[in-house]
């Protein structure tokens, strides 16, 4: 039973419409980031395209132009609503990159070794061990924040990049270990057995034979770890005060005197764009990643 031409067209229209609805919040967000102040807060109704696009919001968040300078350029009017908070976010972007890259490297390193062993070697209680790793994923971040705060104080890691990196490693490990295990599982066991019969040690057969075969899987895992660290909120919010990652910095633009939607949307767009680029790189492994390796596409 072939669907008719009309029903096909109807389906196309509905499909495009549904996807458009899901894209709307992102487009609206991006649109607001290039709106002048008055167009964002128009109470007569939403402003779609009837405004002069401006990069002022990006100049404040990304280039360190102060809000006062903009107001003077504007001809003495006030620009924005907030008080004297700092909107220059260049340090924030750097902090975010340091934390995400650092935690990704450590997570992938620890997870690759462990995943190989879990995929290849016989051991007692393996399922229990895997479940223990998985159960880290169940932990509400708040349960770990409180003790970590005190531990970091005693270890001298309070308010440091390294402390936050370690916390992000902890939440990324279950994903990294289970996902990499599923990639190692895809490589037939004969491969390293053949290498070992030829005289290679475990380590050599891992390093020279199996690891090169799962290169794509390691890359996909790294990208996902990066994204989850990049978007993480609660640990960064509570564990550090002088180091601000992007999602936390954005929420500080909500002040008691007003919400700086212009700067928020500009910095938010800056935070989203790298994630969009990265997600396109791992489209193929996304389902596997989001289900910690239990479903394959």
């Amino acid at each position: 039973m072939e669907p008719s031409h009309a029903s096909r067209t109807l389906r196309d229209i509905v499909a495009v419409l549904v996807v458009a609805i899901f894209m709307f919040p992102i487009l609206w967000w991006g649109l607001n980031s290039i709106k002048p102040y008055s167009a964002i807060f128009d109470k007569d109704g939403p402003v779609y395209l009837d405004f002069e696009p401006t990069l002022d919001n990006y100049r404040v968040t990304m280039m360190g132009v102060s809000r006062v300078e903009l107001a003077i350029q504007d001809g003495g009017g006030t620009y924005g609503a907030g008080g004297a908070s700092s909107y220059d976010s260049r340090q924030t972007i750097l902090d975010s990159i340091i934390v995400s890259v650092g935690s990704t490297i450590i997570s992938v390193f620890l997870a690759t070794l462990a995943a190989y062993a879990l995929s290849r070697m016989a051991m007692r209680g393996k399922q229990h061990f895997i479940f223990w790793v998985l159960s880290q994923r169940f932990m509400p971040p708040i349960a770990i924040v409180i003790p970590l705060l005190f531990m970091f104080r005693d270890m001298g890691l309070r308010d440091t990049h390294f402390g936050l990196i370690l916390a992000h490693v902890l939440i990324n490990l279950p994903l990294a270990v289970l996902l990499l295990k599923s990639f190692f599982d895809d490589v037939p066991k004969d491969v390293d057995e053949a290498a070992m019969i030829d005289g290679a040690t475990r380590w050599q057969s891992f390093r020279r034979v199996v690891l090169p075969m799962v290169r794509g899987g390691v890359a996909a895992t790294a990208v996902l770890c990066f994204i989850f660290s990049w978007t993480e909120f609660m640990l960064s919010l509570y564990l550090t005060t002088s180091i601000r990652t992007l999602p936390v910095k954005i929420t500080t633009f909500v002040t008691s005197t007003g919400t700086e939607w212009g700067f928020i949307t500009a910095l938010g767009t800056t935070a989203i764009l790298p994630a969009f680029v990265f997600i396109l790189l791992v489209q193929r492994h996304l389902v596997r990643g989001l289900t910690l390796g239990s479903l394959k596409e």
Binding site: R11, L110, M121, I272, L295
Partner: protein
């Protein structure tokens, strides 16, 4: 025996390491992971538990050991019960809506025709928006005076400007849910699509020959064959929903009153007041609930990793 072999054998004897330290044994492979999980996973939890058995004495400025007093307080705390109910309502409604929408959209987008690949790719974008930013997106759209969503809700008479969606008790949780639904329905779509694409064709052809209509095929074939996929999706999403914090913190901070205050949000609020032992108790209580329910779910539905 040749000289070389003798030397090699002697060297080997001298430098032989215990077997569990060689690369043939899983121990050295797992050691870095295990140490990391013990130091930053197990130890903090024990530490949190130890904290939950104490109480701050403000006068003497010391933490006194009070056994399970905080736990007793938690069970008698109306706000904990409120937070539990809010979290359950949030989790269950989000799960049902996201599952239904996700399955529907997945079936809609499951086509090999031109352009559908792009649509499926676009659908994944909301997933990588930082949740705090997604919360802000909806805060902007749901703003009582200039929000675009509020504007149309007012225009269609679904809400009135005197009762903004996030500032009104009866609609605030729905307002927060919208952000969650927007961000995580694509997760369901993606997983369901993977499930749909893996379905065998033959049973459907056979059913079509037998004269089954599309609803019967969906009910008797598609749904049962997707059950494993659905179980995994419900487990992962359910856990994340139950520890929900970001949207609530960004959009309502638990208000108005406590109508959107989830378990994590309440624990976070107590944490900010400086009552660490009680915050630790609430956090552990949340963890305990998740752990028990997730464990049962994994056993019953035989989810494998």
């Amino acid at each position: 025996m040749s000289d070389i072999a003798t030397v090699a054998a002697a060297t080997e004897r001298r430098f032989r390491m215990p077997r569990f330290l060689s690369s043939e044994h899983p121990f050295p492979w797992l050691l870095p992971l295990i140490s990391m999980l013990i130091v930053f996973g197990i130890y903090p939890l024990l530490y949190a538990f130890w904290m939950s058995l104490h109480q701050r004495n403000r006068i003497k400025r010391v933490d006194e050991f009070v056994w399970f007093k905080n736990w007793g307080t938690a069970f008698g705390d109306d706000r904990v019960w409120n937070a539990f109910q809010v979290t359950m309502t949030y989790t269950l409604s989000a799960l049902v809506i996201q599952l239904a929408l996700g399955l529907a959209i997945a079936m809609l987008l499951d086509s090999d025709r031109k352009g559908y690949g792009i649509l499926r790719g676009l659908m994944t974008l909301p997933l990588v928006v930082p949740p705090a930013v997604a919360g802000m997106m909806f805060l902007l759209m749901e703003d009582g005076s200039f929000g675009v969503l509020s504007h149309y809700l007012y225009a269609f008479g679904l809400l009135s400007p005197e009762r903004p969606i996030l500032a009104t008790g009866s609609t605030a949780l729905m307002g927060v849910l919208l952000a969650d639904i927007w961000q995580w329905t694509p997760f369901m779509v993606l997983i369901m699509l993977a499930g749909l694409r893996a379905l065998p064709k033959e049973p459907f052809e056979a059913a079509a020959i037998d004269g089954a209509n599309s609803w019967q095929m969906f009910r008797r074939l598609t749904l049962p064959m997707l059950s494993k996929v659905i179980a995994v999706a419900v487990l992962i999403r359910g856990v994340d929903l139950f520890r929900i914090f970001d949207y609530v913190y960004v959009m309502t901070s638990g208000g108005p009153g406590t109508v959107t205050e989830t378990m994590s949000a309440y624990a976070g609020r107590i944490f900010m007041t400086g009552n660490f032992p009680y915050a630790a108790t609430l956090a552990l209580l949340t963890l305990l609930i998740i752990f028990v329910v997730a464990n049962i779910f994994i056993q019953v539905f035989k989810v494998r990793f």
